[in-house]
């Protein structure tokens, strides 16, 4: 399929010129096209933020919900209709801040969905406060003395939660990003891709160049099935060297959520196609 298939035509995109979000959109379209995902079968779920506007810029079904709440909605969409391709995509503030609790517990469920997080280490839409991933010392109008908190390490946390697919990419490397996107989307189960993305308007520290200088690919012989190795790599932060990018961890022993619950064990049809079982209901009522 051609990536143009996902184009929205003449629309006004609210991102700043030069923002990494544009590349993410482009790469995502290409990945989807190469995987032949039909727009009618794709649901993009997002929260609120600059990143969270992405579903509006890609021809597909859209659930653009509340700030921080994309994952529970995406989970429910996926488990109400496992035939859909579900991508939950939002910003670092949305997913790891407001949505932190869903981030943790959704991983535990392992639904068959892809979770793309635009990690620009800042709150873009609300004009430049620290996000959970902001680096120590990062100054903002709220963090006037610079960020004092330990930056949230989504990759390490996801590995600690034994997520079934954990990756980080830098959008500056588009081919690599596309490749990881494709693997994430085809992965059966929950797949996290933390996407390092420069915010040209509010993050003057972690720029394109900075990311370029401070990231490197995981070693070529790296084995993503080892949780211990994955954690060791995840702990490598820019505070003490370069942050690795690539697929840190996969656990292929896990079934996706919908294969575990009884609802789809004998019948794979989505819930909307089903009818109430009148006989059983009559029987049940009479049992009381």
């Amino acid at each position: 399929m051609d990536a143009k298939h996902y184009d929205m035509g003449e629309i006004d995109i609210a991102w700043c010129p030069g923002c990494g979000d544009f590349s993410i959109l482009k790469v995502l379209k290409e990945a989807l096209a190469e995987l032949d995902v039909a727009p009618e079968n794709l649901v993009m779920v997002s929260g609120i933020g600059q990143a969270a506007k992405i579903p509006h810029y890609l021809r597909c079904n859209v659930f653009n919900g509340l700030h921080g709440r994309s994952l529970p909605a995406a989970f429910a969409i996926q488990s109400s209709n496992p035939n859909l391709t579900v991508i939950a995509e939002s910003g670092d503030g949305d997913m790891y801040g407001e949505g932190g609790n869903h981030f943790i517990h959704n991983i535990r469920r392992n639904p068959n969905m892809t979770n793309l997080v635009h990690n620009n280490m800042v709150y873009g839409l609300t004009k430049g406060q620290a996000s959970p991933t902001s680096q120590r010392g990062f100054k903002t109008p709220v963090q006037v003395d610079g960020v004092l908190l330990e930056p949230f390490n989504p990759v390490a946390v996801a590995i600690a939660l034994d997520a079934s697919f954990v990756a980080r990419v830098f959008i500056g490397d588009r081919e690599h990003t596309k490749d990881v996107f494709k693997q994430a989307i085809t992965h059966k189960g929950y797949a996290l891709v933390d996407i390092l993305q420069p915010c040209v308007s509010f993050n003057k520290v972690n720029t394109f160049q900075w990311f370029k200088d401070n990231t490197e690919k995981l070693p070529p012989d790296y084995d993503p099935t080892s949780r211990q190795q994955a954690f060791a790599q995840a702990c490598r932060t820019c505070e003490d060297g370069k942050m690795p990018v690539g697929i840190f961890y996969t656990n292929l022993n896990k079934k996706p959520y919908h294969e575990n619950i009884p609802v789809y064990q004998t019948d794979s049809s989505p819930l909307w196609q089903r009818y109430r079982n009148d006989n059983k209901l009559k029987e049940l009522i009479e049992r009381f």
């Binding site: 009618e40 079904n61 994952l71 429910a76 109400s80 209709n81 609802v263 009148d278 209901l281 009522i285």
Partner: protein, 575 residues
């Protein structure tokens, strides 16, 4: 009829009381079924503390030859299963109360207040059979005997009930009930305490459900196939009910990490074509209110079961109240329409819960079902629900290429598409959006979208469930009530016995009927009965009709109204 001291009775209330973990609830579960099988109308309600062991809980079971669905203060028969039990129900005792108790529970004061108290050494008998835990089953036998229930029915029932257990457990339980029956019989012969109640053949065809089971059955009848919920008393029953029947009815049951996830799951599920409910109580509902607003903006159907308990904050987690009407009315920022049901009895709970799913689907609005701890935990016998009378109305369409989720139509309702069904794309947005669903800052369009959303409120008004006016169309005094208090008010008015007093019960509390004012204008005196301290429903009525209530009957100690409560108040107000 002279046959015994007590003679034939129409309506007896049996109370069991003991600390948590003493098996009060087991006795309740056994007795209600036994009474029903014996052909009696039965009603059982409980009050309990927020703890797993200890404290003091009680169950009131009414057994009757006529339908009964209301709580009474009066205790006809009391079985204290614990030392503190008699004190716990102290104020409900009368000279006529029959107490069957361990010898050492009965001090002189008790004996004086209740001359009809008899000693039964439940624990010793139970120990003799094998374990003191059987004492509650012994009590079941004693009660069975007093009510003259066929002993075969008792033993058969116990045998069936414990059929999954090991043989010696079954045998010992049977022995316990038999021994109890024997003792009960002896007591009856010695003291003429038999309570002969006439069975009603109608009862055989009826079912016995508690409030939350009625809601649960209504949900399944309404096509519910998804629940996102986080445990919270007293709402958890719906989650466990649907979990129990998940496999049979193809229901996705997910215990959410918190209530916020619960409600967002429910909205996501509806988006994908499921029929979802979120179930919670006050504090959890407070957390859901942003999600309620999302449903308002996305024009997503949403059903929320809100089982009320006293607040604020954690309040009294296992008690009852009607304090969250305002919260349900105004939950969520911004402005959007909604509907709120508050069933008064199991039949209404079944009907309205099923209706909630259809209404939500049709008008694409949040619909709330307000119950309370009293209602969800109370058992009623009732004619079997007729699910065939309830259609599952899907109200979604196959989308075409040019599909626009928020198309502005004449009546404000846009055809609802489902992703994956049809060629169209379904775009739902929490921002203000255009007809296609995409984010907009066109401020004229904003106004049209607000108008579109609010116009559905008028449609909901037209679809309103009328309140129940009972018993007479002519009245001087009108008592307004809503939710679970219906049967209590009905019995209280019957007992009060004046034919110029009627009640107007609202099983739908929002919107209110357009012509409500006319009905209220007929009353000389309007009384409003509510389980809260501020008269929330009266405010709503006043806003809607301009008529303010004359008198209030409010209760907010965590317990439900009783028939006696209401009668006494009516006497004071209009007696």
């Amino acid at each position: 009829m002279g046959k015994s001291f007590s003679g034939i009775r129409k309506d007896v209330s049996v109370v069991l009381c003991g600390s948590a973990g003493m098996g009060v609830q087991t006795v309740e579960r056994l007795l209600v079924r036994i009474f029903k099988q014996a052909g009696y109308h039965v009603f059982a309600t409980k009050e309990y503390m927020s703890r797993v062991r200890g404290g003091m809980n009680s169950v009131t079971i009414r057994v009757s030859s006529k339908p009964v669905q209301a709580e009474v203060d009066r205790i006809d028969v009391l079985i204290p299963l614990d030392k503190g039990a008699i004190e716990h129900v102290q104020r409900r005792l009368t000279g006529g109360t029959l107490i069957l108790a361990e010898p050492d529970y009965l001090n002189d004061a008790v004996k004086e207040k209740c001359p009809r108290c008899m000693e039964v050494a439940f624990t010793e008998i139970a120990k003799a059979i094998g374990n003191k835990l059987y004492s509650n089953v012994v009590a079941v036998g004693v009660v069975g005997a007093i009510f003259g229930i066929n002993p075969d029915l008792l033993t058969d029932f116990i045998r069936k009930r414990f059929s999954g257990k090991e043989q010696n457990v079954i045998d010992e339980n049977v022995a316990a009930v038999e021994k109890g029956y024997e003792i009960g019989n002896e007591l009856c012969e010695q003291h003429q305490i038999r309570m002969a109640i006439e069975p009603d053949s109608l009862v055989n065809d009826q079912i016995l459900v508690n409030g939350v089971e009625a809601v649960g059955l209504g949900a399944i009848a309404g096509g519910c196939n998804f629940i996102g919920a986080y445990p919270m008393s007293p709402s958890t029953g719906l989650l466990t009910f649907l979990a129990k029947h998940a496999r049979e009815f193809g229901i996705v049951v997910e215990q959410a990490e918190d209530e916020i996830a619960g409600v967002n799951m429910a909205i996501g599920a509806w988006y994908a074509g499921a029929r979802a409910v979120a179930s919670t109580s006050g504090g959890g509902f407070a957390l859901m209110t942003e999600g309620v607003s999302l449903a308002g903006m996305m024009e997503s159907p949403l059903v929320v079961h809100l089982a009320q308990r006293p607040g604020p904050a954690t309040g009294l987690p296992t008690r009852t109240g009607q304090e969250d009407l305002n919260l349900a009315l105004y939950a969520g920022h911004g402005e959007f329409p909604r509907a709120i049901f508050a069933p008064g009895n199991p039949q209404q709970a079944f009907d309205l819960t099923a209706r909630a799913f259809n209404l939500a689907a049709q008008y694409q609005v949040p619909v709330f079902i307000l119950t309370d701890q009293y209602f969800v935990d109370t058992y009623y016998n009732t004619p079997p629900f007729d699910a065939s009378a309830v259609k599952v109305e899907h109200h979604f369409v196959e989308t075409g290429q040019a599909y626009r989720r928020f198309e502005i139509t004449e009546n404000g309702i846009s055809p609802r598409g489902i992703p994956g069904y049809g060629k169209g794309l379904v775009v739902a947005d929490s921002d203000e959006h255009d007809e296609a669903g995409h984010i907009t800052e066109d401020l004229d369009l904003r106004v049209r979208m607000v108008d579109k959303r609010l116009s559905k409120g008028r449609l909901l008004e037209e679809a309103v469930i009328e309140p129940t006016l009972w018993p007479n169309e002519d009245f001087k005094t009108l008592v307004l009530c809503w939710g679970s208090t219906l049967p209590i008010m009905q019995e209280a008015i019957a007992v009060f016995g004046r034919d110029d007093v009627s009640l107007l019960h609202f099983a739908q509390v929002f919107p209110l009927p357009i012509d409500l004012r006319q009905t209220l204008e007929q009353a000389e005196t309007i009384i409003c009965l509510e389980g809260n301290a501020t008269g929330q429903f009266a405010d709503l009525v006043e806003l809607h009709t301009g008529i303010s209530v004359d008198e209030f009957l409010l209760k907010y100690n965590g317990l439900n109204f009783t028939v006696e409560d209401v009668v006494a108040s009516l006497e004071k107000m209009i007696g």
